[in-house]
């Protein structure tokens, strides 16, 4: 009988000891999380993409709940999350403008030839390292799809010209593609601004003309003809001021190279 007794006693005591220890530790190490933070975290999409500038949703939830951070910083969640966070925190939500990732290059295989065929790792970063990229234009899109891989929402697909096409419905402007592109060709542009200069080449005009059929040759026609002066050429490259631009599309007709394009009206 003593064996059973010894077993029961020793193991039971160990259990008691550990049970008390765990419960006490539970209290001593209790992390007083603000209940609002947990509810805020629940309202967030939980993709931890960091587009709000915080280390993941946990960080943003903490900032909103405890540091009075604006409730519309989560681009992925968009207006819905902004509204629910505001309701949670008892503040009215600030107006929220949906943004879309736009590619500032149109140099597909048909428009900008390749200097050599690249047979290495399928990633733009890798292709970019090999002799400055296999495309004739050292500024343009390499077409290896790193942006598509990086997109957590599958909003980017590569077309047969090797250019990424952004699906406006799926795009949540989380900014992953902006980081993924080694040549920084992606920018987050408000959805209502549909006129984009589809080029990022800072080469001189005659140089660009030889390299790419749709490159910006810095002829400044757009700059002179824009009724509201919303476009200017700097470093041989035209760029819109999206706040001033009122979508007259004059620059689109004037551009001899057809570099300035209008993204199709959002379906």
């Amino acid at each position: 009988m003593s064996l059973v007794f010894a077993a029961v006693l020793s193991f039971g005591l160990l259990g008691l000891l550990l049970g008390l220890g765990l419960a006490l530790a539970g209290r001593r190490f209790a992390v007083e999380t603000d209940p609002r933070e947990e509810r805020a975290l629940a309202a967030l999409p939980g993709v931890n993409c960091g587009a709000c500038g915080y280390p993941g949703c946990g960080g943003y939830a903490h900032a909103v709940a405890c540091k009075g951070e604006e409730t519309n910083r989560c681009p992925v969640g968009g207006a819905a999350v902004a509204a629910s966070l505001a309701a949670l925190m008892g503040r009215e939500a600030a107006p929220f403008e949906k943004r879309i990732a736009r590619l500032f290059c149109a140099g597909g295989k048909d428009k900008c030839p390749e200097r050599f065929t690249y047979k290495g790792i399928i990633s733009c970063n890798a292709a970019n390292l090999v002799g400055g990229g296999h495309k004739l234009c050292s500024w343009g899109c390499l077409g290896m799809g790193s942006c598509a891989d990086a997109c957590p929402f599958d909003a980017i697909a590569m077309n047969e010209q090797g250019l990424p096409v952004v699906d406006e419905a799926k795009c949540t402007a989380c900014g992953r593609c902006v980081l993924a592109c080694p040549r920084g060709l992606f920018q987050l542009v408000p959805q209502s601004k549909r006129v984009i200069v589809a080029c990022s080449s800072k080469d001189k005009g005659p140089e660009t003309r030889k390299i790419c059929k749709v490159g910006c040759i810095a002829c400044r026609l757009c700059e002179r003809n824009c009724p509201v002066k919303a476009i200017a050429v700097a470093d041989n490259l035209a760029r819109h001021d999206f706040k001033a631009c009122e979508q007259h599309k004059v620059c689109v007709q004037k551009c001899p190279q057809k570099t300035i394009v209008v993204f199709p009206p959002s379906s």
Binding site: A6, S10, F11, G15, L22, A25, F29, A30, S123
Partner: protein, 194 residues
């Protein structure tokens, strides 16, 4: 010299992951990102060292004298589980970033076969306290070496043109197979056999 042989044998020749197949559950799960692998190694090393110390003491000073050797599995695993839960609470309080990165994997460390196996091997091999500590550090070192190597390889393989069916875990397994083959090459170094 004997301590070195135990250490090196545990770390490289009989690597706990690649040769003894212990601790695999977290090995495949967490090795997709390098920094996860590194922080996991620290957590495993810490828990394994503590567990070995406690279980060695428990065995020699409690179980053996009382003749309760048949309870050793229950005793060991309960102590390890409590230990991991304590580490989890401590991390939640003092290192929230690390906790968020490793959240799901902490309970899995409890079920990490390697830790219990090390506790058992320390007893079966009849190691003294010092020897079992050296063995444990060797094993956790081996775990670290294997998982960090594997994580960096896997990050590289994710970019390679892998056929559709092999993407994800299948290619990871084949990678592990090759790594294990490489580790077999260490057999016999310093006279430590496979």
């Amino acid at each position: 010299m004997r301590l070195f042989a135990i250490f090196f044998g545990a770390m490289i020749v009989n690597n706990i992951l690649l040769m003894r197949f212990l601790g695999l559950c977290s090995f495949f799960g967490i090795s997709n990102k390098l920094e996860n692998a590194v922080s996991m190694t620290w957590a495993v090393t810490f828990v394994m060292a503590m567990a070995s110390l406690v279980t060695w003491g428990l065995y020699h000073f409690l179980l053996l004298p009382l003749g309760l050797v048949f309870l050793r599995t229950a005793f060991f695993i309960l102590v390890i589980a409590a230990l991991v839960q304590l580490v989890e609470m401590y991390m939640k309080k003092n290192a929230p970033g690390l906790y968020r990165a490793l959240g799901i994997y902490l309970p899995l460390i409890t079920t990490n076969c390697a830790i219990l196996a090390v506790a058992f091997l320390n007893i079966d091999y009849g190691y003294s306290l010092l020897e079992s500590l050296v063995y444990t550090v060797g094993v956790s070192g081996g775990y670290g070496v294997a998982i960090v190597l594997f994580a960096s390889l896997r990050e590289r393989v994710d970019k390679a043109p892998v056929p559709e069916a092999f993407k994800g875990y299948p290619i990871a397994f084949i990678l592990a197979g090759l790594l294990s083959l490489a580790f077999m090459g260490f057999a016999g170094m310093f006279g430590i056999q496979l």
